[in-house]
Amino acid sequence: MVTMEHYLIVSSIMFFVGVYGFITRKNLLAVLISIELILNSVEINFCVFNRFLYPEHMEGMFFSLFGIAISAAETAVAIAIIINVYRIANNIDVRHIDKMKY
């Protein structure tokens, strides 16, 4: 029997795997991929809650829907910026974008 908690666990694993990726990856695009994981997992959460707990309205589902759109927008902007970084620095290694610190 699959209960809601199962879904939630899956999504939270996905979320924190995303966090892990964000922290460890050294390619900016890989970091971005991790962010996609994070956002995706949250969307699962919304749907699950909506479906199992509050199915009378579609709040969660719409949140997921908009979330997908937002993550698309965000990816677009992020990729644009990363490409710009690449154009200037000729690489997109995270370790190289630390000109400003302390």
């Binding site: 939630l8 979320f15 995303g18 966090v19 964000f22 900016l28 970091v31 971005l32 962010i35 994070i38 956002l39 997992s41 949250v42 959460n45 919304f46 699950v48 809650f49 909506n50 707990l53 509050y54 709040e59 969660g60 719409f62 949140f63 908009f66 979330g67 937002i70 927008a73 965000e74 902007v77 992020a78 644009a80 910026i81 990363i82 710009n84 970084v85 200037i88 620095a89 974008i97 630390d98 000109k99 400003m100 610190k101």
Partner: protein
């Protein structure tokens, strides 16, 4: 479907029309000589919008409670308008530089859009709208941070900002999902009824809070701020450090007290500690900065801590003090950034060393800068003194003298680094890095005049605070 709901949104519609006008102006006039009117049009429209905000507005909710407007939100939006207007005025010179002139229009368009997002943050009655508002306010702002396309620092700032903002929005959304799971609704009004002290709610709340704290740059969510502020174009830095921060504070204020008021004892201590940490860390980092923009980043972090003093207690006084503080902070910080922008446009320097002997070469700019930092440090009779006093008073009113004490002691540290700037300008003699005498452009000068007037008179004339206080009364429900 009742589209008359849109008619409640006077300011949003106004701003939307500005957005559209500017967008089409940009598209149609791009590359033609009409482009030189662009800034005037943008500033003019923005001023109209600002003035428009002071007219009476309807109060109430629309879209089934998703959108809420009241005198208070109008006031907050007015504050944001003024900030944006000043940033527009200051940005002009930089945008006219050859490498940026092609993108001149986009700056205003995107900034207008982010402002719209902030409107939604302030006016939202639903977490979904709040979230979308935050995203509108932050994603395009990343483009603004990376606006100086050919500067590595700017690109780096943009990358850091977009990555961190995406992470924070993920974390925040995660929190929201748990809140939704625990309470079954995203509407503020409904949620405030159902706030219960369960681990899930708390987790959801903390995750959600971190998103806003990120925008306000509270410690430990502040780490992006110095890098982005340093790397971003000065106008963007000014915009982020003032307007964006203000909007986030407003949003936090409203949600904390409208939605999470029931669990105040939970977040009170959390916020208390974060406030202290923010003030202290901001100060500690600020003391030894060499780049003036980075310096102001840390200074604005610690200022954010002071702002939180007012948010913390959620009393009527605290709320009005917060808004007032932000209002004064806006003038002070923007005055500083106005000067920074002028110098940067002139010489490309943002080193504090470049300010050595500024009083000898450009006395007026130096005076403005001095007023700005003195106001930030809370020196009477400038506005900053009053705002600090009221914000401390609001905290003291609740008997939180320890916090007041820590905060006041920290003002001394902050005074130290502000005085360093003053010292550089007034006491040090001009060095090699220093900037020679020059004239700033009209818009910038006007913006500085506005800021100085704001710094000088917001405190001395009590009407400003009294007005805010009268409006702020509406927040307590």
């Amino acid at each position: 479907m009742d589209f008359s709901n849109f008619l409640m949104m006077h300011q949003e519609l106004g701003l939307l029309s500005i957005f559209v006008i500017l967008l089409f102006f940009d598209i149609l006039a791009s590359g033609t000589r009409y482009m030189r009117w662009f800034r005037a049009v943008a500033v003019g429209l923005m001023s109209l919008q600002t003035i428009f905000g002071f007219f009476p507005m309807p109060e109430g909710a629309a879209f089934g409670g998703m959108y809420v407007t009241s005198d208070l939100t109008v006031l907050m939006k007015n504050v944001l308008n003024i900030g944006t207007l000043i940033v527009f005025m200051q940005a002009g010179r930089w945008l006219r530089q050859p490498e940026n002139s092609i993108r001149e229009g986009e700056f205003y368009v995107i900034a207008t859009a982010t402002l719209l997002g902030m409107y939604l943050m302030v006016s939202s009655g639903n977490f979904m709208l709040l979230y979308i508002g935050i995203e509108i306010a932050s994603l395009p702002a990343a483009c603004l941070a990376a606006f100086n396309k050919y500067k590595e620092k700017s690109a780096e700032a943009g990358a850091k900002y977009i990555l961190m903002t995406a992470l924070s929005s993920g974390v925040m959304m995660f929190g929201l999902s748990y809140l939704y799971g625990a309470m079954g609704t995203m509407y503020f009004a409904d949620m405030s009824l159902g706030v219960a002290l369960e681990p899930m709610t708390i987790l959801g709340f903390v995750f959600f809070f971190s998103g806003l704290a990120f925008k306000i740059s509270l410690v430990p969510f502040h780490m992006w701020a110095p890098d982005v502020y340093e790397g971003g174009p000065t106008a963007t830095t000014a915009y982020l450090s003032v307007v964006s921060k203000a909007a986030a504070v407003f949003a936090l204020l409203l949600t904390l007290h409208h939605v999470f008021g029931g669990m105040a004892h939970v977040w009170y201590y959390m916020l208390w500690v974060l406030t202290v940490a923010t003030i202290v860390i901001g100060n500690l980092f600020a003391v030894r900065q060499k780049d003036i923009k980075r310096f102001f980043a840390y200074s604005s972090i610690s200022q954010a801590g002071y702002i939180m003093l007012g948010v913390l207690h959620g009393t009527e006084m605290g709320l009005s003090a917060t808004i007032y503080y932000i209002f004064v902070y806006l003038f002070s910080n923007l005055a500083a950034f106005g000067v920074i922008a002028s110098l940067e446009n002139r010489s490309g320097q943002t080193d504090i060393a470049a300010y050595n002997g500024l009083y000898k070469t450009n006395p007026k700019l130096a005076l403005v800068m001095m007023l700005a930092v003195f106001s930030l440090a809370g020196i009477p009779p400038l506005g900053g003194f009053f705002s600090k006093f009221f914000i401390f008073a609001s905290s003291a009113a609740e008997g939180d003298y320890v916090l007041v004490f820590i905060a006041t002691i920290n003002t001394v540290i902050s005074l130290y680094y502000y005085l360093r700037i003053v010292k550089a300008m007034f006491i040090n003699s001009p060095g090699e890095d220093s900037v020679g005498p020059f004239k700033t452009d009209g818009f910038n000068r006007a913006s500085l005049v506005i800021c100085v007037a704001g710094i000088l008179f917001t405190g001395i004339l009590s009407g400003c605070y009294s007005y805010i206080s009268a409006v702020g009364f509406g927040l307590i429900q």
